[in-house]
Each structure stands twice: as C-alpha cells, then as structure tokens.
C-alpha cells in the first residue's frame, strides 16, 4: 500500500524541460523499493548528458520529504537503456496536446528496427504533410519539423 502511495506521489514529478510529462509518463521511473531504513527510487536518464537529471533527482527528494519520507536513496541506472517505447500512452497523448509530436512506434528506434524515425502527423492540425527542418531541436531528445499545411514548425520527440 505504501509503495503505491509513493508511486502516486512520484507521478507528480515533472520533466523540467517538458513540464506536461511526469517521470512516470516518460518511462524513466524504473522502480520503487521499500527497504527497512530507506526508500530506494530507481531512475534512468533519457540521454547520457541529459541536463534535467540533476533537477529530477532533487525534485524526487523534495516531494518525498514534503510527504514525510526523509530517508530516500536514488539509484541511477544505465541498463537497460531507456527507450522512447517506454513512454506511456497517456504520456504520448499529453505530449501531442502540448504541441510536440510523439515518437514513432514499431521499434524504429532499436538497432534492428526497420521503421522510420518520423512523426506521423503535425500535432497542431494533424496533417500528414510535414517535413524535417533539423535532426536536432531544443533539447537532445527532440528534432525540429514543420507542417506544410498549417505552416507551423513543431518539435518531434525522437525515437530513441
């Protein structure tokens, strides 16, 4: 019961760079363990140099402290490596509603993947008539596209 409570508290920790997504939506919250003397929270970074990781760790500590849990250990793991496939369905919906195209599915991000790493449609007008502007966008996890119908540029959360 306590574990469920902690998980629901942690669902309020948002990615500081995409403030509509929680760490659970993103799939970077990998586990919560209740040990005798401490709570161990396991998280994994999206990218090796993700600058949001330090803030996320601080946010996890402070929200748990606010809820009365003061002995918290944060365990940072690299393997298995995070993939955009771990983003939840509700995370994908929130992302699109925020104006960022959700990552393509069909394992196009894995080594053996055959799919294409492209957004399906413009998150604003839903047109499929789009083109890439740049492989890199405002953060490491995004690329920049534009819609050829509504003419708006938009971010695409890359397959990874």
């Amino acid at each position: 019961m306590e574990k469920e409570k902690i998980i629901s508290i942690l669902e309020e920790v948002m990615d500081p760079e995409i403030p509509v997504l929680s760490i659970a939506d993103l799939g970077i919250l990998r586990g919560v363990e209740i040990l005798e003397n401490e709570i161990r929270v396991t998280v994994t970074p999206t990218y090796s140099g993700c600058p949001a990781m330090d803030t996320i760790q601080e946010d996890i500590r402070s929200i748990l402290l606010k809820n009365g849990f003061d002995k918290v250990k944060i365990n940072l793991v690299l393997s298995p490596a995070w993939t955009s496939e771990w983003m939840t369905d509700s995370g994908r919906e929130k992302l699109e509603a925020f104006g960022i195209a959700a990552p393509a599915l069909n394992h196009s991000c894995t080594m053996a993947g055959t799919g294409t790493d492209e957004p399906g449609h413009c998150p604003l007008c839903h047109s499929e008539n789009i083109e890439m502007i740049s492989r890199f966008g405002s953060t490491a996890c995004k690329a920049l596209y534009r819609c050829l119908d509504c003419r708006e540029p938009f971010d695409y959360f890359k397959c990874h």
Binding site: L78, S79, M111, I133
Partner: protein, 256 residues
C-alpha cells in the same frame, strides 16, 4: 590497465565534446548550432559516466590512496596524462573540418561501443548500451552532412577536400593498439581498435563515395610521431585544457 582504458574512452568523448561546444553560439545556422551543441552534450555525458566508472575502479584498486572523483580526472590532470587521440584535439577549422572529424570519430565509436556491449565489465557494457543509441544518431547526422557538402557546391566540395587532406594523416592513430588496449582486449573487457579498421574503412568509404569525395586509403603507419593515446599530444591540447580547467584550478572545489 582497466583504468587507463576507461580514461582513454572518457578523454576521447570529453575532448571532442569540448571542441564541439566551441561552436555553441557560432554555428552557421541556428539549427546546426543546436545540433552540434546537443552532440557535445551527449559526448560530455558519456565522458562523465566513464570518468565516474574509472574513478570507482581506481578507488577500489588503491584503497590506501586519497579517493579520486570524476572531477579530478577531468579537471586536474595535465596534458601528458590525457589519452585522447590527436585527431579530436584539432582546432575546429571550418564547418567541413568539424563535420569530417565528427563523422570519422562517430563511425569509429559506433564500432568500438558495439564491441563493448559484450564487455566482461558489466558497468562498462551498460555505458556502451546507453551511448550507442546516441552515437547512431551522430553517425546519421554527420554522414548526411558529409554527403551534402561533398556533393554540394564547388565551394563546399573544395572545403571537404581540404578537410580530408588535413585530417586523413591523423586517422591511423585510431587503429593503432596501445599496451592498455591490448590488455583490455585480452582481458575481455575492452576491444582491440586494430580489429575495427576493416569495418570502419568500408562504412566510411561508402559515404565518401556517395559524397563524390576521394576514398580513404589506409596509410598503414601513422604519419605522425605524436601518439595522443600515450600522452604525446599536439600543442592544441594544452590550450583546450587551459580554458576547460581554468575555473577548477583557480577556485579549487568550486561548484555552482
């Protein structure tokens, strides 16, 4: 030997990451400025993971010594202690030279980290697993640019030819095996870089051909007496370290 090997991997990533970060605010167009800054971020993130691992292994091996940290390794070593290849410390030059250097290195790093996925050191294998996804993207981006510049205008083609002339003599060092790399390969936690050369050559030349550029020819022996992997660097590394390490040396332990 393990720590020397880990430090070599980390130094390559840090020095190229630092060079790429010099483009931040100076890219030819905003989107590409951002691209190179993001690649710099990936590389510096990878180096940080590798320095943390090296520090932890060093501290386990020598418990009697003062413990070292990732920051000691990045900010408090002198140029002869750095083990990055000379290719990566070269000044950025123009966009063509920066692109070619990234392309050559990402192609190499992809093969190297592919082998490290099977490292006996589970922590090193985890870093490889994490990094390789980023490297694949760097390969994609830099290959596209090599083709765009090589098969572009007369001006961009000429600039790529100049970049090839400047950087090709520095490539052989990537595939020259040092004692610690051999020990790493024999021990099962590293890879012998010489074994990566055939695959590298094939992949690089396929792109150079598409880019209508002259193919890379193996020159068998390094054209340089320098060996960054053994601490014998070009003059450029000292200038990088002077800028990168200034703050930690002037204000030891400073944090923000």
């Amino acid at each position: 030997m393990l720590s020397a090997y880990l430090i070599q991997l980390a130094d390559n990533a840090l020095i190229l990451g630092h060079r790429n970060s010099e483009w931040t605010g100076h890219g030819p167009v905003l989107e590409q400025d951002i691209a190179l800054s993001n690649i710099a971020l990936d590389l510096i993130g990878q180096s940080r993971n590798l320095y943390q691992l090296a520090a932890s292994r060093m501290n386990t091996l020598s418990p009697e010594k003062e413990p070292v940290t990732e920051d000691d390794l990045a900010y408090l070593r002198e140029a002869p202690d750095f083990k990055n290849v000379v290719l990566l410390e070269q000044p950025n030059g123009d966009w063509a030279k920066t692109i070619l250097r990234q392309f050559y290195f990402s192609r190499f790093q992809l093969l190297q980290f592919r082998d490290l996925l099977n490292s006996k050191d589970a922590d090193l294998a985890a870093i490889a697993e994490k990094s390789i996804k980023e490297i694949r993207y760097h390969v994609k981006w830099s290959s596209e640019w090599v083709c765009r510049l090589g098969d572009g205008t007369t001006e961009s083609h000429t600039r790529m030819l100049n970049a090839l002339e400047e950087l090709n003599p520095l490539v052989a060092e990537l595939f020259t095996t040092t004692d610690y790399e051999l020990a790493a390969a024999t021990g099962g936690w590293g890879t012998d870089p010489a074994s990566l050369q055939p695959d590298w050559l094939q992949a690089v030349n396929a792109t150079l051909q598409t880019a209508t550029l002259p193919l890379y020819r193996d020159e068998k022996k390094p054209a340089l007496l320098l060996s960054g992997k053994n601490g014998f660097h070009s003059e450029h590394l000292g200038f990088i370290l002077a800028e990168m390490q200034f703050l930690q040396r002037a204000y030891p332990g400073c944090d923000w």
